[in-house]
């Protein structure tokens, strides 16, 4: 019972933190660009405003257009429920593991692409086609990178993987983990639409991927999609933190350990979001036709990681 309550609290924490993570990243980027920038709370204000606006729906939109935001949000929330945030005890482990997580993420991606295609606009179709190109290369990389960890721990349950790394810290600096971490980071940037694959701040239709698919959405639908995108970013950052460096995560369900663990995960998110902002300041966006090369590199790294984990078991 306590574990279930904690899992629900973790989900709420992740969803509530997500816009803040995006806001913090934007704020750091603004500072690095010599601007004052908006406060960390700006994405919350934007969500409140967008939820309150009316909707304009294209005449050519079918039921798929109306379904897509709900499926994207639901699949992201379900995926967020599977990720261990503050505790390695995951009651959701009985419902889904690493493979369920990846399946939920790709389900959201597919419906987002369908929602982009549905109204029949030129930019929506272009965005969907690009998203599918990128997703086809990143989803297997993410899965194989985490599978490399699963091979060492002998379980595909996310909580068990974090527990095994905690028990054997030597694993964390082994070649399997290091390679998997590099692969995971590149795939994560692609999956969440960050530089150098996609520019989250762009207004140029010809260069966008994620933004191009949601151009037709307005009002509450747009707010749902924005929130889901922020949750996906936070979810993958938490996954990176807790799979590859799980130190600080609670192994027992008691108030002291959980409170400490919340502080630790906030600190980890702060560090990862700062690194993300610094990286986005440093690199330029890749030409679209160079993106598959980068993703192929990350896939190769993931494959090497899995091989290395397999032979060094």
């Amino acid at each position: 019972m306590a574990a279930l309550l904690l899992a629900a609290a973790e989900l709420v924490l992740l969803m509530a933190l997500a816009p803040g993570v995006v806001g913090y990243t934007r704020w750091v980027k603004a500072r690095l660009q010599g601007r004052r920038g908006a406060g960390v709370l700006q994405p919350y204000r934007e969500l409140r405003k967008t939820f309150g606006k009316s909707m304009v729906i294209a005449d050519s939109a079918s039921w798929i257009f109306h379904l897509a935001p709900w499926v994207v949000t639901a699949s992201t929330v379900a995926a967020a429920a599977l990720v261990p945030v503050v505790s390695v005890h995951q009651p959701a482990d009985q419902l889904g593991d690493l493979f369920a997580l990846m399946a939920l993420l790709i389900l959201g991606t597919v419906f987002l692409a369908l929602g982009g295609l549905d109204p029949g606009t030129a930019f929506g179709g272009m965005g969907s086609s690009r998203e599918m190109t990128v997703a086809a290369l990143t989803e297997p990389t993410l899965a194989i990178a985490v599978l490399a960890l699963a091979l060492t721990s002998g379980s595909t349950s996310l909580g068990a993987i974090a527990g095994t790394v905690l028990a054997n810290p030597a694993n964390a600096i082994g070649p399997g983990h290091a390679l998997a971490f590099a692969a995971f980071l590149i795939a994560m940037l692609a999956e969440t639409g960050r530089l150098p694959i996609d520019n989250p701040a762009t207004h140029l239709e010809l260069t966008m991927i994620h933004e191009a698919m949601i151009l037709e959405y307005s009002g509450p639908y747009l707010a749902l999609l924005e929130w889901a995108a922020a949750t996906k970013l936070t979810l993958l950052l938490v996954l990176a933190a807790n799979m590859f460096a799980p130190w600080g995560i609670a192994t027992a369900i008691e108030p002291g350990a959980v409170a400490r663990s919340v502080g630790v995960i906030l600190a980890k998110l702060l560090v990862l979001a700062t690194l993300l902002a610094v990286l986005e300041t440093r690199v330029a966006k890749l030409r679209l036709f160079r993106v598959p090369e980068l993703l192929a590199v990350s896939f190769t790294l993931a494959l090497l990681a899995a091989t290395s984990s397999f032979f060094s078991r």
Partner: protein
Amino acid sequence: MRLFSKIARTGIVTEALPDQPENPITLARQIDERARALLGRAVAIREVDAGSCNGCEVEIAGLPGPVYDMERFGLHFVASPRHADLLLVTGPVTRNMAVPLRKTYEATPDPKLVVAVGDCARTCGVFAGSYAVAGPVDTIVPVDVYVDGCPPSPADILRGILTALGRLDPSREGR
């Protein structure tokens, strides 16, 4: 690393808005309080060039930059009228752009505001009477705020947007 040492040396270059606008800013009609309350400090802006000489666009391009930094007021540009709360319209409306401007206005979800930037948007400027011009902006879509100038400075455009949002009245001044 050289990039980041340069960033550290330069620091924040954002300037405070000057107290007085260089050109007059006119509130054309009373703005719905509900719209102001909802938009508040999070406003998505769609720029519509309805036939301008691009002088105003050069000034508008300065808004997201470090000096004028519109993001500190919670303003940002978006790529689609469906995401927008405020239309920034420039230029005399040409015959070719009259329908697209009308359609952009209709594609913007309520509540929405329109800020007309530059002399041309109000009076058609030097283009008045041309066979290619359909008329000033308010003959096509309702305008909330006019920002005069040829072209107006980025600071004036910012003041115009903030006036439309009711954030420049002394009683409700933000930051």
